[in-house]
Assembly symmetry: C2
Homo-oligomer: 180 residues x 2
DNA sequence: CTTGTTTGTGAGTGCACACTTACAAACATG
DNA sequence: CATGTTTGTAAGTGTGCACTCACAAACAAG
């Protein structure tokens, strides 16, 4: 026994988030996740109940990391007002998704919500983040809504590669968005 | 000859938008599009250069319809101020995506932007819509950005099915969004 | 009617990939 | 050392799907 199954699961999940992020659920063979994790495809199928189980578990890991980052960001807020806390949370989130994997995985997960298990995982993830943002920042409904609206705008900016587009319309959409 | 090739292409593209919208590019076999359009798979491959060509052309058709709807909505604006025109555009867009196909297709397209041809089609679509919104409404950069941010929020609401979630966090995210 | 062009299809072909099974090696426990 | 359990894999199996090709029917023009 080189490693315990539980430890393997953790490393496989983190690599799964990165690998699924590139091409999505259907276009990513389990072989690709296994190779990136350095183990055989057969063992991935023993550690998780099929490809769908792996993806759902990866979604859980993805939102775990997002929630943790936002939580840590709130601790570093400059003051106690909702605006200051939301700003600190936004900064922490922007810093977290600099490597793009967590952002792209969310996009991929939203694209396969026709699979009920994935839809439920996505809802659970946003439920966790949204309830925390609202309670921790003491923000109004409208502030929470705005927080997520501009978060989703980041998804468009990154997937379409708008940071690289010098035209005015792209500059307007990316203005003020923190280092994407 | 029952129909001209060009007329076939138009009908195939509209059905392709609906069919791709459900399961996305990789999970949708060309057979499904052909069956929905009432022709054989082989003929779809003659009308378009492969599955990728079909999807890219469908993306063009999707953004054509969105641009046309927003353009028509602007004509029905109550006044000439940017706020009134943006509001009319938003209403027209909300009305258009009531059947969900155009919205879900955009989500699917954003998820496969790792394919360069699709990324370019997405950029072209948003370029067209964004430049029109800005010039027609005479809106500021910040107003255009806000318009698209809340548009992207609709994508999350619909894919995650948040209209059906009665919990407070979901109500906060969906508040004020027009009849999704 | 003959010849040519366009619209349309049925029947393949080859490959990628989800998932299984049989088997082996490492470790634990008595 | 013997027996059992857990970690790990190599080598299949079956199926679904992108794409092709040979062929047919409708129409046009002479």
């Amino acid at each position: 026994m080189r490693s315990t199954a539980e430890a393997r699961r953790v490393t496989v999940l983190n690599t799964a988030v990165s690998v699924f992020a590139r091409a999505g659920f259907h276009a990513t063979p389990v072989t690709a996740v296994a190779a990136a994790a350095g183990i055989s495809e057969a063992y991935v199928f023993r550690l998780f109940s099929g490809k769908l189980g792996l993806f759902v578990a990866a979604a859980g890991a993805c939102f775990d990391r997002i929630a943790a980052a936002i939580e840590a960001g709130a601790e570093r807020a400059g003051g106690d007002s909702p605006e200051e806390i939301l700003d600190a949370m936004g900064g922490a989130y922007a810093e977290l998704i600099a490597d793009r994997d967590l952002l792209l995985f969310q996009v991929q997960a939203q694209a396969v919500t026709d699979i009920p298990e994935i839809a439920e995982a996505v809802r659970a993830g946003y439920r966790r983040v949204a309830t925390f943002v609202q309670s921790r920042a003491g923000a109004s409904d409208a502030q929470v809504q705005q927080f997520f609206a501009y978060g989703q705008l980041c998804h468009l900016i990154v997937t379409a590669g708008l940071e690289q587009v010098p035209e005015p319309w792209a500059r307007a959409l990316t203005a003020g968005i923190r280092h994407p």
